[in-house]
Every structure is written in C-alpha cells, then in structure tokens.
C-alpha cells in the first residue's frame, strides 16, 4: 500500500493515461459494469481536472498513509480509556480525541500536500497538456508553456514571481492561522 511512494509522477501518469483512455481504458469499462456511464475523462474540462486530481491523489497516497498511520499509532491508549470512562463513544471519540491527537500529522500533510499539488507538472504534461481549453493549465504549467513553447521568457519569469508570492502567502496562512488549531502534546 505504501508502494505509491516509490512510483514517480511520470510512471503513475502513464498508467492512469491508459486507464483514462476512451477506447482502451479499463476505468470506463469497470464503471459500466456497475451501471455507471464513465465520462470522457480527459476531454471535458471539469472532468479533466478531476482526472488529474485522481492521479495526483493516487501518487501521494503512500506518503499520506504512512504519516497518518504513524500519527494514529502514536496516540496513547490511556487517553482513549479516560475518554471512555467519561462516556465518550464513536463519533464523539473521533472528533474530540482522535482528530486533535493526530492534528500535527494532519498539519504536516496539509503543508506537504499543498506544496506537491502546486508543483504538479508531470501529470499535466502527460495527461492533458494544460487543456482542454486551459482547464488544467496551472500556474506552473503556464510557466512551462510560456517559456518553452511560446518562447516568452519575460512573461514566464513574471509568472514565476507570482508563483513564489502565492506559495509564500499560503505558507504564512498555514503557519499563522491553521497551526494555531493544532494540538501539540
């Protein structure tokens, strides 16, 4: 299950490209077996974004699972017992005990995954090339197109600066606002 950590973006994207293939892909066939009409994965703009997202999620599953698992395993049994004595059950136990105790891991993943998503290039390059109709043309992919397809290095550099500022602002928000709610022991 942790194998996706070793699968590169290029390898994963090529496999998913085959799965999404309208003529040969298994995905739509499997869906049809349960009576669902599979969409044109890489051709409809909104669906294309979902396709790229699915691929990205799959690629980062390994890291996410490992970190969360470690976080969950780090919760001492005593806390659960104490809570049980206090009458906590099920959903309450989850929201009041599990989530706060695992919040450092969640926060770590939030930061790391945001960075990974903002950096996503390979999946877009191999699945959709920024299309359809620029639906999957992220800032990073746009830098690539403007610099290396349209040869407008000046404009692409400007986009790079915007990317930097964006990430900076996001990081500050994450550390200032969200980290406040993280429960450290």
């Amino acid at each position: 299950m942790t194998s996706t950590i070793a699968i590169s973006a290029a390898v994963g994207s090529l496999i998913w490209l085959l799965l999404f293939n309208p003529s040969l892909g298994l995905l739509n066939y499997v869906l049809s077996l349960v009576g669902v009409r599979g969409p044109d994965w890489l051709i409809q703009p909104t669906i294309a974004i979902i396709a790229v997202s699915i691929t990205t999620i799959w690629l980062t599953l390994g890291t996410n699972i490992i970190v969360l698992l470690a976080g969950l395993q780090g919760i001492p049994e005593e806390i659960y017992e104490a809570a049980r004595l206090d009458g906590a059950r099920g959903a309450r136990m989850f929201t009041r005990i599990t989530v706060p105790m695992v919040s450092p891991s969640l926060f770590f993943l939030l930061v790391v995954d945001t960075v990974a998503v903002l950096q996503a290039f390979t999946q877009i390059h191999l699945l959709t090339r920024g299309g359809p109709v620029d639906a999957t043309r992220t800032l990073v992919y746009s830098i690539y197109l403007d610099a290396f397809q349209n040869f407008q290095f000046g404009f692409a550099s400007a986009e790079s600066v915007v990317l930097f500022v964006l990430v900076l602002v996001l990081t500050i928000i994450q550390f200032r606002v969200i980290e406040r709610r993280v429960f450290y022991q």
Binding site: A6, A9, A10, I15, L18, A70, Y80, Q119
Partner: protein, 282 residues
C-alpha cells in the same frame, strides 16, 4: 495494518472486520493500477485491442520487454538516472551534514540569520526558479551533461534541517568532552556525530535518491541527446514514440519503476521513520 484496532482492549468483531475490509479495499485500489501495468506489459496489441478491455493477458509473452530494449536505450537511461541520483545524494550528504554541523555545534556571528535564510529557501517552490536555473545551466554549457542534471540539486535546505534536528539530539556533554580532549571540529564530526546520526543520514540519502530518480521536469528541459536522457523522460518519450502500442509503454514503465520499488522494499523502515520524525512531534 490493523494497528489501531489492536490497541482497543475489547474490539467489537464487527468493527475489526469493517476496518479490515476497508483496508483491503483501499489496498486494492492503490495497488491496482500498478498490477494492471504489469499485466498489460505482457499483452500484445492484439490482446489489448479486444473488447471488453482485458485484465489478464490471453497470451502472455515477454515480447514487449524485448521490443522496449530494442526501441530505446533503456539500459543507458537507467545508468544515467543512477549516476545523477548518486551524485546528488553524495552532494546532499556532504553539504547538508557540514551545514547542519555548523548550525548545531559551532557558534559564529550571524548564525541565526543564516539559518533562517536556509529555512526560507524551503518556501520557494522549485518551479519558480526553473527559468533562471535553466539560463544559468545553458550559459555554463551544461545542457545534456551529468553536471547540469545533478548540480542544481546538490544542496538541500530540507536535508540540512533534518540533519540539524538529528545532530541536536546528540548530548552536549560529548561535545564538551571532545573539546576538552583537544579534538578538532572535524574529528568530532567524523567520529561521533556521523556514526550517531546514521538513521537521519540514511533518510536524507534515500529521500534524495528517490526524488532525483523520479525527476521529470528538469531532465525534460535540459536533455536533448537521446543518450543523456534519464529514465522518466525516456519512458515518457516512449509513449510518444509508440503511442499506439500500449503494451510496449507499460513494459517500459515497469522496467523503470522496478529500481524504486526495490529501494522502497529495502529502505522502507528507514524512510517511514524519517518521514514521521518530523510529523508526529510537530
């Protein structure tokens, strides 16, 4: 895998079963694409083009693997990736351990400032720097070279940070004792710090190797020569070159993924420990 379930003293059977089923489903969903790629790599175009789309090959054969070897110099790609990844790992270990050592044990003016500077580079997304990096490498004449592929990644703030955390765990007394004994700074590094920080060093090495091996964007930009390409760019190229022969592409994909999977199997413990060290404690 049922670690959480085992921690409860009297688990309800339904709960345990439920979580096992869930875990099994997730495991299948995650592993499925990979297994499918493996399956397809043994199929001929004829098999693949049948409807309904097949899951297992009707006439499994190793043909595709042979064709991959004949179509692209995959051996060379693997060699290139290995050389570059190893170079990067060595560079990273050197720069990160020296920097981390300085930050943990040595006192000098501007130490705080420099450390924050290091940390702040973590916030710069690498993609925002490709254009200037590309221009630099190009003007150095390093396109299509191993240096061009490796040098930009030989210093790592992430690694420095990780190692600094590990070095800080070393008891201060050892350092004081060494100073009293008249040991040089280098000696202390070599004989005490490094041996005691093996796990952290291992993490930096594995992480560095994997991320360099898996790189796509940078090699795409700076390699034109077929023989200088790395594995990731090589198989993506295969996809374009043989856009109608999916079995071939999947065979290439498997061949390229095998080294990283092997590394994962060997270094799994190490990697997990490294990843969780920063996460759980915050």
């Amino acid at each position: 895998m049922g670690a959480v379930a085992l921690q409860r003293r009297r688990p309800l059977p339904i709960r345990t079963l439920g979580s096992y089923v869930l875990l099994a489903v997730v495991a299948v969903l995650v592993a499925f694409p990979l297994l499918l790629a493996l399956s397809y790599s043994f199929m001929s175009e004829f098999d693949i083009a049948t409807f309904p789309p097949p899951v297992l090959p009707a006439h499994p054969s190793l043909d595709n693997y042979g064709k991959v070897l004949a179509t692209i110099p995959i051996g060379r790609y693997l060699l290139n990736s290995f050389i570059v990844s190893t170079a990067v790992v060595i560079g990273q270990l050197l720069t990160a351990s020296l920097a981390a050592y300085a930050f943990s044990f040595l006192v000098f003016r501007g130490r705080q400032v420099l450390f924050f500077l290091f940390l702040s580079t973590l916030m710069i997304p690498w993609e925002a720097t490709i254009i200037p990096n590309y221009m630099t490498i190009r003007s150095l004449g390093w396109l299509d070279t191993y240096q061009g592929l490796a040098v930009p990644f030989m210093a790592t703030a992430f690694g420095t940070f990780l190692l600094r955390q590990a070095f800080m765990q070393i008891p201060r007394e050892l350092w004081d004792a060494a100073r009293i004994d008249g040991s040089t700074t280098f000696r202390f590094l070599r004989e005490v710090v490094i041996p005691l920080s093996r796990p952290a060093l291992g993490t930096v090495a594995i992480y560095g190797f994997l991320s360099t091996y898996n790189q796509y964007f940078w090699p795409l930009l700076i390699t034109n020569e077929t023989l200088m390409r790395t594995t990731q760019v090589g198989i993506a190229q295969l996809r374009f070159e043989e856009s109608l022969r999916w079995g071939l592409v999947m065979a290439g994909v498997i061949m390229v993924a095998v080294p990283t999977l092997a590394l994962l199997v060997l270094g799994q413990r190490q990697l997990i420990r490294g990843l969780t060290a920063g996460a759980v404690k915050g």
